[in-house]
């Protein structure tokens, strides 16, 4: 990135690198959580930059719910290899054995078991004491107050009273035995910042962000992609080829597509600039109940 002038993106990049280095230096066993979305792709890119010419000194971990888009999984493996990360993939074994899925069990139970519980299990299993996540403060009103370092009890719980004030760029990283933190190095980035940075730095993203003809069904006003044969079709539902793309990526049955012909980065950014709905409206789990972000955080999802 050009350095003759200190652009806002440069300052955001510097801040994120500072945070990532601080965690690597102060924690015994950090891990970077990889959701494969655009935000965590930016986070990975920043981590690679932070330790250049060395590879990042911590592994990547993906919590695989088994319901991710196939293109995401392919992209995940390529990216880990390209950036020199050691990749850990974890799936909740009990959830897998019981075939917990979004249809028979409802999205909120499913998310709990396959995502939240799985993450807690994995953190415990590997003894990670710090986990990087790609959440941003502008994602939702309630996230505005989130700290960059979020402290978790030995049970991965979030105790609002145990959180610490963050002054300057000096982070208190001390934890007791068994406790851990979640760190959000891109807290201060907005969706627009992310896209601009992806353009500037040529960061590869999952092709699902670009418009293409994809088989979808319409449910409750939302377009759901039929990514594999596991999606139960309701009576009368016939998948249709539509020109669609995704603004946010997750489990395919829970992530709505939008109709769009934006097939290049500039087109995506243009669409974003004139978009009239916020990013999260495509994420079905947030509609389940109001205040669900807060609740999910307490339960350990973030």
């Amino acid at each position: 990135m050009s350095r003759d002038r200190k652009s806002h993106l440069k300052r955001l990049e510097d801040e994120s690198i500072h945070i990532i280095r601080e965690v690597a230096a102060e924690f015994r066993n950090p891990v970077m959580l990889y959701s494969i979305g655009k935000d965590s792709s930016v986070m990975l890119h920043l981590a690679a930059k932070a330790f250049y010419p060395a590879p990042p000194p911590f592994p990547l971990m993906h919590i695989d719910t088994t319901w991710k888009f196939r293109e995401m999984i392919r992209f995940r493996d390529e990216t880990a290899k390209r950036l020199g990360f050691n990749l850990i993939v974890y799936t909740n074994p009990e959830g897998l054995a019981q075939n917990v899925n979004p249809f028979d069990h409802g999205s909120s139970y499913y998310t709990n078991v396959m995502k939240t519980d799985a993450l807690k299990q994995a953190l415990t299993k590997y003894g990670f004491d710090a986990a990087f996540g790609g959440a941003r403060r502008d994602e939702e009103k309630s996230r505005a107050k989130e700290r960059i370092f979020s402290f978790r009890t030995a049970n991965h719980g979030w105790d609002p009273k145990k959180q610490r004030p963050e002054l300057w760029n000096i982070y208190n990283t001390r934890i007791a035995q068994g406790e851990s933190i979640r760190v959000f190095p891109i807290s201060n980035w907005t969706e627009l910042d992310i896209w601009q940075y992806i353009m500037l730095e040529d960061i590869p993203i999952v092709p699902l962000y670009y418009a293409a003809k994809r088989p979808v069904v319409e449910r409750g006003g939302q377009l759901i992609m039929v990514d594999d044969e596991r999606l139960p079709l309701e009576p009368g539902e016939v998948p249709q080829e539509k020109l669609v793309r995704f603004r946010t990526l997750g489990c395919y049955p829970l992530t709505a597509a939008i109709e769009s012909d934006a097939a290049t980065l500039p087109e995506i950014v243009r669409e974003m600039l004139i978009a009239r709905t916020s990013e999260r409206s495509g994420r079905l789990i947030d509609h389940d109940e109001s205040g669900s972000m807060e609740k999910k955080k307490r339960e350990g999802y973030f």
Binding site: H8, A25, P53, A54, R164, M199, P266, R270
Partner: protein, 634 residues
Amino acid sequence: MSEPAENLSAQDLIDYLAQQENKTLLRFLTCGSVDDGKSTLIGRLLYDTKLLFDDQLATLERDSKKHGTVGEDIDFALLVDGLEAEREQGITIDVAYRFFTTDKRKFIVADTPGHEQYTRNMATGASTADLAILLVDARKGILTQTRRHAFIASLLGIRQIVVAVNKIDLMDFSKDVFETIRDDFTEFARDFGFKQIVAIPLSARFGDNVITRSERTPWYHGPALLDHLETVEVEDEQRAKPFRLPVQWVNRPNLDFRGFSGTIAGGSVRPGDRIVVAASGRTSTVSRIVTADGDLDVAVAGDAVTLTLADEVDISRGDLLVAATDQPEVADQFAAHVIWMSEDHLLPGRPYLVKLGAKTVTAQVTEIKHKIDVNTLDHLAAKELALNEVAVCNFSLSQPVGFDAYAANRETGAFIIIDRLTNATVGAGMIMFGLRRATNIHLQALDVNKSARANLKGQKPVILWFTGLSGAGKSTIANIVEKRLLAEGRHTYMLDGDNVRHGLNRDLGFTEGDRVENIRRVAEVSKLMIDAGLIVLVSFISPFRAERRMARELVESDEFIEVFCDTPLDVAESRDPKGLYKKARAGQIKNFTGIDSPYERPENPEIRLESGAKSVEDLAEEVISLLRGRGIIA
């Protein structure tokens, strides 16, 4: 955000984004008392810079009708509210961060709740802000709070101030009202070291002078708020300072590469520059400035870089690399402004951790020079600091560190204070100047003596003298008490028959004379342990008043607590844990207390535990409460 995005061609858009790439960043803080219109102003900025999406707007319109305070109009405050509700739920919100952007700049707004006790939160928000907007209600003028906000902003080193004279619509857009407030503020803020104060007459609710100049204030010739925010100069100062780089990380992928990574905290650096490691004084020359985007010719304040040096110098995380030509202070003592952020008071002499840059060291406050009343700015004497109090303190560190005065550099002059037991961030510090040992008379406070040793352990030494019949429960209760103390991080030691009789007092039997000597030795050992700063638990039958009095008189009156385990003989005898009563009754043990030797009940024990009815846990809890009540533990 620019509105014509819809009409842009892909190429236009690329150009547009390229121009956006040169946008700068401004971080600012908004301060005001409740109802000054802070939320309305921030909501208005978000709204007018069109950072809202349709679904958010729909929610806003719905909520405005339901909860709004402005009738049928849109209540912008609802866009950002939510801090108060959470405070009521007992959740501490320090700061909420909001984002908006224009073609010229990206803005990060630190929004802090406006309450009296929120010095801590304002300081947190201010620590990363370049500019502060102080809201003043035009109807009320400059209030105590305004003064407090201005003081904290100046304490945290904010140099750019906007005085937003809000609700000017309610004062008929009066020029006089505005000018009086502006002049009052300028007058009292004269000594605060602000570089620039800009006063703007505003109506957050109706938008006057927020985005564009209002026709309703024709007499006002200054900028609209957004104009000022978009153009105010904040960055270059940091670059003009001497070079500083706190080393965060030593980058060593292989034997051929050894880089020192960190974020430049002042000035600039080029290959060939002479640098010094502040604490060790070793020097070297910069060979490369390494980044993933290629080597740089120059790096400046704020850049996260990796330097390689021409020489093999011993450098590790926490070291400060500095310009050879302009070095910082290096000392293990300094004076600093402190903002205390914890319910637990700051106690001089108690060991804390201080984190300064990437360096964490043990430190203590040797003296509180004075507190500063944040409302009147009066200096007050103080022995401790409570939550949200501000003071000037002298610090003593376990090792010398490199630093600058906060006034000279906000990055190398700032530190946080961490509690060693809870790991909480309990304070923020801003260094004023280093203290040289020779000239610093307060070093005497560090003499090695009883209180220094006790202070280091963060406790008051005391003897807990458990007395009572055999089987009364002394050791059991004392054990529980000790465990509880240990769990709270107290330094304790237990003296009882088991560990004393087998060693120190091996030569003593159970005659009356030996019993007296036994207690005398135990009392003297306890006294030494008090001197060492410990909480000593003594568990001996100690049947005679005289010996107990002797033990009591060896130490200060507040250092001795007699714990009488008052268990009736029949109860103790029925427990008979070691079968001793049985043997005594059978005449196999002579001089057994309660059987053929007297137990003299304490007349005025500090605490009497009746073990018949209650559980040992409850009895131990009574002891703990007594210790709390006496301020021996927190």
